[in-house]
Amino acid sequence: MSDASAPVAHQHAAPTGLLRKYVFSLDHKMIGKQYYGLALVSVFLGMILSWLMRFHLVWTNAAIPGLRLLSKNGAPGGVMTPEYYLSLLTMHGTLMVFFVLTNAPFAGFGNYFLPIQIGAEDMAFPRFNMMSFWVTFVAFLVLIASFFIPDGPPISGWTAYAPLSAVGKDAGPGLAWGQNLWAISIGLFCVGQLLGSLNFIATTLDLRTKGMTLSRLPISTWAWFITSCIGLLAFAVLLPACVLLILDRVAGTSFFIPAGLVISDHLQPHSGGSPLLWQHLFWFFGHPEVYIAIVPAMGIVSHILMASMRKPLLSVKVVYGSMIAIGFLSYMVWGHHMFLSGMNPFSALVFSFPTLIITIPATIITMIWIGSIYGANLRFHTPALFSLGFVSVFVAGGVSGFFLAQPSLDIYLHGTYFVVGHFHMVMGVAAIFGILAGTYFWFPKMSGRMMNDTLGKIHFWLTFIGVYCIFMPFHFLGFAGNVRRYSTFVDDYLQPLLPLHKFISIAAFLTGAAQLIFLYNLIYSRFKGAPAPENPWEATSLEWSTTSPPPFDNFGGRHVVVKRGPNEYGVDGAHGDFIMQDSPEPEPAAGD
C-alpha cells in the first residue's frame, strides 16, 4: 500500500539476504519462479489425486496402499469411501483450475517474462506483486489444510454449488470446516489474482521501454495483458460470491439457501435464498476463467510457434483481435453452464448464441496457426512439439464444444463424461501443453541451462499419445450417457462401460508416470544441464537479448531501445533468419 506510487524498485543493489532474495522477494523473476513452483507442486498433487480417483473407479472395493495414512475416515482399511472420492474430486478440480491453470501460464510465466519482454526492470508495484504471491500461497496452505482436519476436504466439487456448499455439516462430511477452508482459500486466491492483474495492466501500460509501442508487444505479452483484463473483472465477481457464501455458512444469512430445506432430518433455519444466484455469480467468473487458463497458453504457443516456424503468423493482428473478442465474449456466455438449471428456454437461446459466436475467434486463431505452418521451416525441438500438440488438443477439445453450445444436445450430454472430456481437453490438457512448451522454451533463460532435448521428446510423445488415450474415450462414455462425479458405477447400464474405464485408468497411470521424466529433466537440467547461450532458439523478443539468466535488473543497466516488432522471422538478418527487436541493424527486405 505504502509503495503504491513507486514504480521502480531496482535502482539499488540486488538483495543479498536469503529471505529477501528467495522468500519475500520483490523481484518479478523470483516471484514468477515462486508461482511456477507452486503450480508445479499443485499439478503433481492434483495428478496424484486423479490417480487415486481413477484407481477407485475401476477397482472400487480394493484397498489402496498408504491411503489409510492420508485419511483414517476417508479410507477405512485403505478402501476409499464415496465422500473421500468427492473430496479428492473437489481438491483435484480446485488445485488444477486455480493453482495450476491460473498460476503457471499467467502468473508464473507472465511475472517472469512480461516485464522483460517490454524492456522494464520490474513490475509497476513490486510490493503488490510480492503480496499477490504470498496471498496466493496462503490460499494454497488454507486449501491443503482441509486434508488434515477430521472431516476432510469439501465434497461439493470445484464449482461448490449452493445449497450443498452453503448449508454446512448436515449435507455430508467435509461440508463443515472443509468447505469453510475452501471458501476462504478461494477468496484469498481472488485477492492475490486481483493484485496480480492490476500489476500486469499497469506495467504493460506504463513501463514499456522506449520504442515499445503497443503494436510491437510480443504476442505472449499481449496474451498476458488481455488475460489480466479478463482476470481483473472475473475475480472481482468471484470474491463477492465467496464473501456471501462464507456469510451464509457462518453468520446465518440466507443469500443462497431457500426456505424449507430438510437435510439429514434437520429443517434448515434459512429462508428465501436463491441457489441460482450462486450459479450466476460463479459462472460469471467461471467461464472467463476458462480463457484465463487458455489465452496465456495461446500467447505462449503463438510466440513459440513463430520461433519454431521461422516465420511470422499469417496475421498477428487478427490473433490479437480474436483474443480480445474471446475476452469480451467470455462475459456473455456464462449462462450456457446453466442450460439445465430451470432457466426459461428463451434465456437458453440468448446464451446459446454468443456461445456459438465465441467459437468463431477461437476457430480463427486455430486456422491461423495451422495455415501459418504452410511454407514454414519448422524446427522440431521440444517446445515446438508441445506447441503443435497444443494446437491438436485444442482443436479436439474445441470441436466437442460445438455439441455443448446447443441446448438440445447439452440436455443429453451435460451431466456426462462428455463434458469431462471436453474441458479436460480444451482447458486442462491444452493449457498444460502450453505450460510445458513454455517451460522447455524458457527454461534456458530462467536457469541458464538447457533442458535435455531427447528426454523432452520422449516426454512429449508419451504425453501426447497418453492424453488422447485418456480423454478421447471420455467423449464416448458421454455419448453412452455415463454420468460424471460418480465414485462408483452401480447403475446397470454403466456396467458394459467398465472395460473402457479400465483402459482410461491404465492410460492415466502411464501418462502420469511419464511426467516423472519431465520432473527428472527439470531437476537434472537445473543443476547439470548444458549451459544455455543468450538466445538458444534464435528468437527475437527482448528476453533473448539479455544474459541467461537475466541479471537482477534484467538488462544489466542497459536501456533497451526497441526498433521493430517482435515477429521478424524469415528475414535476412545479420545473425541469421531473424532480427532482434532491439537490434540496431537496418530493416532488410523480407525473404521467405
Binding site: D3, I201, D206, L207, R208, L233, L244
Partner: protein, 192 residues
C-alpha cells in the same frame, strides 16, 4: 523502503508518460466497480427470489454521512489543486479530508449501532444482510483511502521532490468511493 520510494521516476525512458500509480488506481476502480456491481446484482436477484424481504428504513444519520463524504471529496480536490502551488496549504486540506473521512466512518458505525438497537442484525433479513455487507465493505475501502491520505501527508512532510501522482491517484480513488457510496445508498433505499 522509503528510500526506495523516493527514487526519481524512471519513466523518462518510457514511451507512455502516465504514472503507474494513476493507471493502477483506475484499474483498481474498475475491479471494485465490478465487485460492487456483483453485490448489487445479487441484491436485486435476492429481492426477487424470496418473499422474506423486509425493507428496512435507513437510519437518518446516513444522509448526514453522505453530505460529509461528498464534502470530503471537495476538500481533497481542493488539496490536489492547492498542491501545485503550496505544500502547506495542501497538507491543511488533506488533514481536513482525513478528518471528514474519519467522521464518515464514525457516522457509519453509529448507523450500525442504531440498527442493532432496533434488533436488525446481519442475519435478520436479506435486506439487513445486504445493508451490513455493502456498508462494511464500503467502509473498509474508505479505511484504505484514509491510509492512502496518511501516506500522502507523510510524503509531503518529508519529500522535497514532490511527485503529484500520489495525490492524483488518492483523489481519484476518493472521488470514486464517494460516488460509490451515493450509488449504494440509492440501491439500499430503493425498493424494487
Amino acid at each position: 523502503m522509503s528510500s526506495m520510494a523516493l527514487q526519481p521516476d524512471r519513466g523518462s525512458q518510457s514511451p507512455a508518460q502516465t504514472s503507474p500509480a494513476l493507471s493502477g488506481v483506475w484499474v483498481a476502480v474498475a475491479a471494485i466497480t465490478m465487485s460492487f456491481a456483483a453485490f448489487t446484482s445479487s441484491l436485486i436477484i435476492r429481492q426477487a427470489s424470496g418473499n422474506d424481504w423486509r425493507h428496512l428504513a435507513l437510519p437518518g444519520i446516513l444522509y448526514l454521512n453522505t453530505v460529509i463524504l461528498l464534502a470530503s471529496s471537495l476538500t481533497v480536490e481542493t488539496a490536489r489543486r492547492k498542491g501545485i502551488s503550496s505544500l502547506a496549504s495542501m497538507r491543511f486540506w488533506l488533514h481536513l479530508t482525513l478528518t471528514l473521512g474519519a467522521a464518515f466512518l464514525a457516522g457509519q458505525a453509529f448507523a450500525w449501532h442504531r440498527l442493532r438497537t432496533e434488533g436488525l442484525y446481519l442475519a435478520t433479513s436479506p435486506n439487513s444482510s445486504f445493508f451490513y455487507v455493502l456498508t462494511v465493505l464500503h467502509a473498509l475501502h474508505i479505511l484504505g483511502g484514509l491510509c492512502a491520505f496518511i501516506y500522502v501527508i507523510r510524503r509531503t512532510a518529508s519529500a522535497s521532490l514532490w511527485r503529484v501522482a500520489a495525490i492524483d491517484a488518492a483523489a481519484v480513488y476518493w472521488h470514486f468511493l464517494a460516488g460509490l457510496w451515493v450509488y449504494l445508498l440509492l440501491v439500499l433505499r430503493t425498493r424494487l
